[in-house]
Symmetry: C4
């Protein structure tokens, strides 16, 4: 018997956004970008100062019923008693600072973490990582708050992270992970997957001779309208949209 938990009858999001967000969470888990933790959110398409995000749950298990509506302070609607992710302030403060951002992925993307604990810069080595030309700054929480557990637990920390992101597509978090943004759920999923892939390729390239410099790729990235459809064929996504 499950414990009944109060939640609002409806969240301010279109059925398409809900379906895409659930699929995105499962796709990112399936691709190994999200592990048992990590999360993706989307700006509400009905109330743009709010955003939609799962309650605290394994990304591979997220369903539409798990989604919560969070206000500009990253807090749930009155009456929604479910436990949200502690790090939801990452999302809220980025949405506040970056009106162009429609979706945010925070992950422990495994191949990216080494670039957050060394001096080597993550940089595009493939056209799929072309968005990294925006830069991939490394944020060090210690510069903001000496006493910390590396988690972005409140608005001031979220604001500092958003500041470090600036106008880039992703920001690395020292000894923790990475946060990637996009102008759509599809683009955020695409970038999260190819940030991981680009990092892995860059790591491997260090084994070879004469690694090419910053001119490795052009600055124009392919357009990514169909990303979720691309990835939904890989693995057991419980919810997905038709891609015809």
């Amino acid at each position: 018997m499950k414990k009944k938990t109060s939640k609002p009858a409806k969240i301010a999001a279109s059925p398409a956004l809900i379906e895409d967000l659930v699929a995105a969470s499962r796709i990112l888990a399936n691709e190994g970008v999200l592990d048992g933790y990590g999360h993706i959110s989307a700006r509400s398409d009905q109330r743009p100062d709010h955003f939609i995000m799962s309650r605290s749950r394994a990304p591979a298990l997220v369903t539409a019923a798990d989604l919560m509506q969070l206000n500009p302070e990253s807090e749930p609607l009155p009456g929604d008693e479910r436990k949200g992710f502690i790090e939801r302030y990452i999302h809220g403060e980025i949405y506040r600072t970056r009106p162009d951002v429609m979706a945010v992925v925070h992950s422990h993307s495994p191949s990216v973490i080494p670039f957050g604990v060394t001096r080597t810069k993550l940089r595009p080595v493939s056209h799929m990582g072309g968005f990294l030309w925006s830069g991939a700054p490394v944020w060090d929480i210690r510069k903001v708050r000496e006493e910390n557990d590396l988690l972005v637990r409140d608005r001031p920390l979220g604001k500092a992270l958003a500041g470090a992101l600036g106008s880039a597509s992703c920001v690395l978090m020292r000894g923790h992970g990475v946060t990637v943004v996009g102008s759509s759920i599809q683009e955020a999923v695409f970038r999260a997957i190819y940030t991981e892939m680009n990092a892995r390729v860059q790591l491997q390239s260090t084994l070879l001779e004469g690694q090419s410099s910053s001119s490795a790729t052009t600055k124009r990235a392919p357009s990514m309208r169909q990303t979720a459809a691309r990835w939904s064929g890989r693995g057991s996504c419980g919810a997905r949209r038709s891609n015809s």
Copy 2:
């Protein structure tokens, strides 16, 4: 409700070719050679100046209904309004230049990309990669067109790539991926899989001492008549031929 899209009633290809091509697309996705993007095509066995290739779709999801017939200019038949892959010109220009080529795979094969952004040459380290004795040239799109997004978007770029391929079995594309050819769908699948495997082994060999030189393997490669049958047992291929 799906939007009805016009397509021709029939494409110029035998049922066997269609079945093999669909299985090949899924096999290559399953083996990690194709990610959400990338594509395989086959020269038509009924109209050899045309070739068969999926509409723009995730390789893991391709079905017979997604296949399109493309003419020598890499354009769809009149009345086929479906969106093809932008990079179909890779395929068309190779079929034009190389009458011996019956199938083409273009991928972002992850372990191969490092060899396209460094000076280290991809070379055969195992007999399964023996076809790499043909050479594995690296093509740099910038030499052809300074303003580019690394995609082969038109016939002139496709022609330049086909020129770089020459008589080899594969051509690396700097900061992008690789294109592999074969005298059959089976051989192209085999070569695409073992180009990836050979690259991974070569990368790992750099960690050891006294890596052997170009004499690593003999120049004769095993014959590969049953390749698709070999791989179809691995993973969830929706369409495959009996291999008895």
Copy 3:
């Protein structure tokens, strides 16, 4: 026809502990921490000087019916004729020495083994590995018994290993594997998974420049109450608890 093997009618453990322990074994197999060997145990929640552990069986196959109750000498109850794991003495001696430990995982965690055969110390490079601040000592069985097969086959060897663990969260075993402890099944699963992940990231970081020193992470680790629920969504766990 299966051979009937005697076992006790009931073991001293709550249904919740049994369910969690079975799920944990399968989760750890699914995550690649346990291979065909390795094991997880839990201190009995009904008789704290005893512990619960599978009979000798592949971790991916463990069911509630495979669990055995072992006494403080790591021996089965009278009448239980099933074959236990040889290395159950690892568990028993740690429970004896460390009253705070409620669960123990012994594995051949693949990325951890290199740190047991070199001089490089495993150290936290991500907040998920923050528990490694407790240290990750390497135990060398040869210091205790010159004639050995690297297995902890009896109580004296188990006691020596427990001594090497001290108050840490994990102890590496030279040329063998690692043993990880936790204050709950959930925490032990979490730590086993992130010891592997942390080791992999640390290995990869050696390829980059200017690897950061021991200040890589803070000493506070995230709390891990929901670990099993987090991981149960990944893969084919035959037994799991609802996580609502």
Copy 4:
């Protein structure tokens, strides 16, 4: 409609051996030791100068109906018109030379190949690889036959390989793969899996400092009676024996 191919009504092997051999083929494919190629055989338990091996087929697809009985010359029984593996001479010549060998695995085990194209010796770094204390010689086909395609296509090449194996547990084949032997199907499966694992760990250890020397492990390896049962829980094995 399948083409009817003649085969003998019965092969000289017990039901248990047949079941284990089929499971072993699928387990080794599932564990990534066998790719689309490679094979495992077992000495007949009814006619010890003969051995049992699949017809030429993907290891992941092998069923009991695919098994062939091969004579001391590695040739099929009269009337069996099915196509065998070209490299069956590896197996036949080892069975002839090594009466203690009951099963043989030939694979392109990916992490092992680097040790066949460099001067670094594969050596035990974990107790699971303790059998490598027998040595892991590298066989170079060129020393026997200058004109070759790296395949062991006939009895003389098989005999030369068996000579290089000597009394060891495995023999590497330069630029090709590895052949592993065991005193049972279970032991051969165990050794094939841990040769791959040991190679991977040794490769990774090169990234760390002060890799320990040949004293990495003791010379006694664990006994492996239950190996197939251990692995059968991992992945989709179509045929397996109960392990109770």
